[in-house]
């Protein structure tokens, strides 16, 4: 597989590997937090915008509705699979299992973006509307995760104040993704052209630098992780594969094609590192933040970026083949 090798040797992946290595070697290399946050916002604005422009070009289809519905269902249902595994096999208490489950139901913007890069390099770019699916998948898992955690405690739903719902629904990353999507939808290709040098041309370069930082963050998380057991590490590798397979199967069932199907599988397999951790800290303060960040960012994220994306793409292609 020549394409796979050239993917692994692309600067995007190599910069991620550099970050991982530097972190494990305990180098003091660090990107200022505000710069990292700025890059994270830039990536969301750019993919939202480009997704909207693509939908403006391609028009609305029934496929979009199906994909949105599939995304919504996946985000709400995947935590229901993760939760019993985390409680039973993973031996977590209800609150921690709920918090972790929410991460695996929700999605990772950068995993998606890296997936799109790789799929595009293989000439199977996913449809633009998948950005809307991404945005839609961010929050349902949060709601389900909190509900799962609450079931286990006597005190009833913890922290389910109005503030919290507001926070979850109007989370900055969701607002930016959806907002930029509508900006792209309204301004269309001719409106996008003058801003393309920022949002299109330098996009891959920024992704390199952001993945460098994510590599540093992921490896440092692992070095400082205290609560990780072998069972939990296993789950952090198995859960994304299960979720990716389910995503690929549903994509095949609703008839998504090529890169678009792969994108749904990647979204299902990805686990959140932006919207969910902050929401869990707020809603379930008793949960161990070091635990869910280590699992989601320290283990699942690197796995997905390197091995996961090709695997889920292959699954999506295979399942589609089985059905046709």
């Amino acid at each position: 597989m020549d394409a796979a090798l050239s993917t692994l040797l692309s600067p995007v992946i190599l910069f991620f590997a550099l970050g991982i290595l530097a972190g494990f070697a305990r180098s003091d290399l660090a990107i200022p937090e505000s710069i990292a946050k700025g890059m994270s916002l830039y990536l969301m604005a750019a993919i939202g915008l480009k997704g909207g422009v693509q939908v403006a070009e391609a028009g609305f289809t029934a496929e979009i509705g199906l994909a949105l519905l599939a995304g919504l269902s996946l985000s709400a249902l995947l935590p229901l699979i993760a939760f019993p595994l985390l409680r039973g096999f993973g031996r977590l208490d209800g609150i921690n299992a709920g918090a972790v489950a929410a991460h695996y139901g929700s999605v990772s913007v950068v995993t998606y973006v890296t997936g799109v890069e790789i799929l595009t390099a293989m000439d199977t770019a996913p449809a633009g509307f998948m950005v809307a699916v991404l945005a839609l998948m961010e929050t349902p898992a949060i709601v389900v995760g909190i509900w799962l955690a609450a079931r286990g405690t006597d005190k009833g739903a913890p922290g389910t104040s109005r503030n919290l719902w507001h926070e979850v629904l109007l989370n900055g990353s969701v607002v930016l993704l959806v907002g930029a999507f509508f900006v792209g939808l309204l301004s269309g290709p001719s409106g996008f052209a003058p801003v393309a040098p920022l949002f299109e041309d330098i996009f891959r370069g920024i992704l390199c630098l952001f993945l460098l930082d994510m590599g540093l963050i992921a490896s440092r998380r692992l070095l400082e992780a205290k609560a990780l057991t072998k069972r939990l590490v296993t789950l952090a590798l198995v859960l994304p594969v299960i979720n990716g397979a389910i995503g690929a199967a549903i994509a095949a069932l609703i008839g998504l094609e090529g890169g678009t199907a792969a994108a749904l599988a990647i979204l299902a397999a990805s686990s959140s590192y932006i919207a969910v951790p902050a929401a869990m800290r707020m809603a379930l303060p008793q949960a161990n933040a070091g635990l869910y960040l280590s699992l989601s960012l320290g283990i699942t994220f690197p796995f997905n970026i390197t091995l996961g994306i090709p695997l889920y793409s292959w699954m999506a292609a295979t399942f589609a083949g089985l059905l046709s």
């Binding site: 937090e33 505000s34 990292a36 946050k37 994270s40 503030n163 930082d213 963050i217 400082e224 205290k226 590192y273 932006i274 951790p277 902050a278 929401a279 869990m280 800290r281 707020m282 303060p285 008793q286 161990n288 933040a289 070091g290 960040l293 960012l297």
Partner: protein, 103 residues
Amino acid sequence: MTDTIHRRRIQVLADKPLMRELIAKAAAVGIENYTLFQAAGGMGESGRWTDDQVTGATAKQMFLAICDKDHEAAFTDAVQPILDSHGLMLLISDVEVVRGKKY
């Protein structure tokens, strides 16, 4: 010479996502005014941390409020039950201010 009045300095170190709840708890016992400071990193029983704006989950801030003894006692009672569950650090000390009416 300017006279100073004795007040209490309340400081609470908390994760940024929990700050809103803390501010609400303070307001509920009558402490409306406060100042926040960013912390840069640290180490506690739950491990080492550094500022982290991308996930936003482990960044910590220091809440500072100046108030009289009664408000302090009410505040301490209000946050005491969540100190452990929320991973807070509560510090109280003496301080002198000039305009007693304001604090």
